[in-house]
Symmetry: C2
Subunit: 467 residues, 2 copies
């Protein structure tokens, strides 16, 4: 007996659209299982986004290393009475034996660019489509949202307060991981702390204050239990009065040599209240008590508060981060770009895809900033491609790297800290006009001449596929 | 070795904000663990919503029945060096022994109403806050989004195509379950089909067409493998040409006695293309081939298409449903309303809460429709409350029912089918002006006189808690 939030490793293979299985069965029956390349990309930038942050590939890779249909999964598929015994037998033995190339977690990317390539026997590549999009899309969206908060926070600490607003259990874990990757100081999520080694933070609940007959008693009880975590929530009743009570309790503990860490504002006009709070605390000799703000914060609100120099030391960001509220879903695609070593593309209205296996080239100026990307064919050399950039770059970097080779890692799993550092360096190297949270400029992304020629020739081939 | 998407039952207890644990430890240390009542409610209606649909309580109840901190969880908490041994010992033995009352899944509700009451020893009620909000909020939001699609679909079939856009693994399961509860015909999600007994549906992928040299060969291969599931995706290249190819393949199979089920449009102007498609199919004698539409659909777009009488038989709804894109997070609260049998409330700016244990009363007219709700005190009788409605209702129903009693079910777990039927009846009984997807009227919700009096007296008590 287990519970419904649970997800067994063997159940992950069933976390898929039915058509992945029926299409795979039809491929199997008709002898289609040569090597195929599928590409994950984002069709267009979400509203207001000038850059995106890659995330999620390591969780996906881990799932693929253990990918299998166990007896219970096969039994369920059999019960649907859709699949023939030889296909179910094939599935029961199937493992992910493909190779994955990806831009590493923490890399900045833009619409249209190849983020991940899955190169595998056609059926393996097909079966994992739903899982790949489900995992990669949200991880990247929420990392991007967090990075936008980081950009405007100006060094103030940011903490993920989102678990209660996240869309289910897995989303809470992904949001904690992605936001730490994007520069957050930590998370409130204890399980994410355990899994990813992320620092965990917490303040105090309104219920703690409400369960006490007097607010001062609540503050005293909490400080005596958790002196090192004593951030007092001052807005259960009147906020200013609450700050005065916190200062009074702080004075009592100061005599005993105990220092209150901070106060937290969770409602009202955070700018005005933070100024009043700072003044009360300073006048009581508590210049070192930090002010933590929370309550309907997002990158826009954080920017307003930091632009106004509100005396806030840390922000707790909840719902807006946890669901990426102004861009909760992005248009990620998973396209067959190559089968039997021939390019493939679709030409649907507004959904045309780019054929062929690719590499992503990034041009750096002598200053260290990057100024343009070129999407090229997988085996174009960086030196050749460098000549297509204007001006000629000081350095051209190939961004896609091998993550899994024949289903297995060839390098140790990169750490979350490394991804975080990659993003910090990337943000430093990205011009401000792409980083701004409102009406950012469009980063220049083009195709190399060789890829452009391939697109034209494959388009002509595709047009004949309807005859 | 397991994978990162996995969630063990014992890990669920760690899916919590750190403060739930620190506050609980402080309660424990200072002797606070009497009976408390916490209430889940939604502070305000999300934009454009005239009604909400309750969902998620059964998944939460299942998690609470198995709630525990196992040795690994305790070991992790110990490693944080925040908690004293006696508290960790207490946690290791803790089970959820509380009682839960809730409005049943599929019930229509409105902002401010009590949805769930957790009545338990204070620490148990505190510890489960994050989990309860995480699970109840999204399940209800996505059920509401699905119900809005159902209201405008006018009997046309709706299918959840959202797993690839959902915010992680758990969200995909919740969305499938909640959308079926709200009248969807089924889901693409195979795992959700297995867990919840929901019908699963699938069409065909673009990759299936692209892997073939000719579109007609792809259609033939698929129909021969899955005649009973043969919905052909016609927009990989030119859509109209694709429909003609589908009709040609259909004619070939007709001779062999095999009937193609449908075609799917996934891009372009769905209204215009559906008309052209219907004409081509009808002229080829395929009046019985259904048209399935998908691609950026939501309740607004579905309403446009059904208002225009577009000849579409079924809609696949993806991203907008899976993340409830225009209302991805709602303002659900989890408030301490009662401790040691005394009402509790907070009075923060804009976040004032309502004290005391409650019951929700719904007034029905002789026509069978319901016209107003009253939030009352838990032990007010329906007959007494009925007199406060104007006009006097033909029937007054008490909506909150016991789900868990002392941590255990006293009734068999209700089926998803029962929740679905409850919502279907509720939608029939709800006036059109609250159901409309644009600018709905505000449903009348008030407090009973007795609750109003309690609020005033408890507010006076709260004002003294800062002295």
């Amino acid at each position: 007996m287990t519970i419904d939030l649970r997800l067994d490793p063997a159940e992950v293979a069933l976390l898929t659209d039915l058509y992945e299985l029926t299409v795979s069965a039809a491929f199997f029956e008709h002898g289609f299982n040569d090597t195929a390349s599928f590409e994950v990309a984002m069709r267009r930038m979400p509203p207001g986004r000038g850059f995106m942050v890659a995330a999620g590939i390591e969780r996906l890779a881990e799932a693929l290393e253990e990918y299998r249909f166990d007896a219970a999964a096969i039994g369920h598929l059999e019960s649907l009475q859709l699949f023939k015994p030889d296909f179910l037998e094939f599935l029961s033995k199937l493992r992910f034996t493909g190779s994955i190339r990806a831009i590493p977690e923490g890399t900045i990317y833009f619409a249209g660019e190849p983020i991940v390539e899955i190169r595998a026997p056609l059926i393996e590549g097909q079966l994992i489509e739903t899982l790949a999009l489900n995992q990669l899309g949200f991880a990247s969206i929420v990392a991007t949202k967090a990075a936008r908060c980081f950009v405007v926070a100006g060094g103030r600490r940011l903490v993920d307060f989102g678990p209660r607003r996240a869309q289910g259990a897995d989303a809470a874990l992904i949001a904690a991981r992605s936001s730490y990757l994007a520069g957050f100081h930590g998370t409130a999520n204890v399980l994410a702390g355990k899994r990813y080694g992320i620092p965990v933070f917490g303040t105090m609940s309104h219920s703690f204050v409400m369960a006490h007959e007097r607010e001062r008693d609540a503050f005293s009880d909490f400080v005596s239990s958790f002196p090192a975590l004593s951030t007092l929530l001052v807005d259960t009743y009147d906020t200013v009065h609450g700050v005065e009570n916190a200062a009074a309790v702080g004075a009592k503990f100061r005599e005993a040599g105990v220092k209150i860490q901070g106060v937290r504002l969770d409602s009202g006009d955070l700018h005005e209240l933070s100024r009043k709070t700072r003044r009360i605390l300073d006048q009581a000799g508590f210049g070192d008590i930090a002010i933590v703000a929370s309550g309907n914060l997002d990158e826009y609100r954080i920017a307003e508060l930091t632009d106004a120099d509100a005396p806030i030391d840390a922000f707790g960001v909840g719902a807006a981060l946890a669901v990426s509220d102004d861009a909760p879903a992005a248009d990620f695609t998973y396209q067959l770009v190559d089968y039997k070593d021939h390019g493939r593309l679709k030409t649907s209205a507004g959904k045309i895809s780019t054929p062929g296996r690719k590499q992503l080239f990034r041009a750096y100026a002598p200053s260290g900033s990057f100024f343009a990307d070129l999407i090229g064919i997988v085996d174009e050399g960086a030196t050749t491609v460098a000549r297509e950039f204007k001006p000629i770059p000081a350095k051209t970097v190939q961004l896609m790297e091998t993550v899994l080779d024949k289903g297995r890692r060839i390098m140790p799993r990169p750490t979350l800290a490394a991804a975080r550092e990659r993003l910090m360096n990337g943000l430093t190297a990205l011009d401000a006009r792409y980083k701004t949270i409102r009406r950012p400029a469009e980063f220049p992304v083009r195709q190399t001449a060789a890829l452009g020629a391939l697109v034209i020739s494959e388009k002509l081939r595709a047009d004949k596929r309807q005859d």
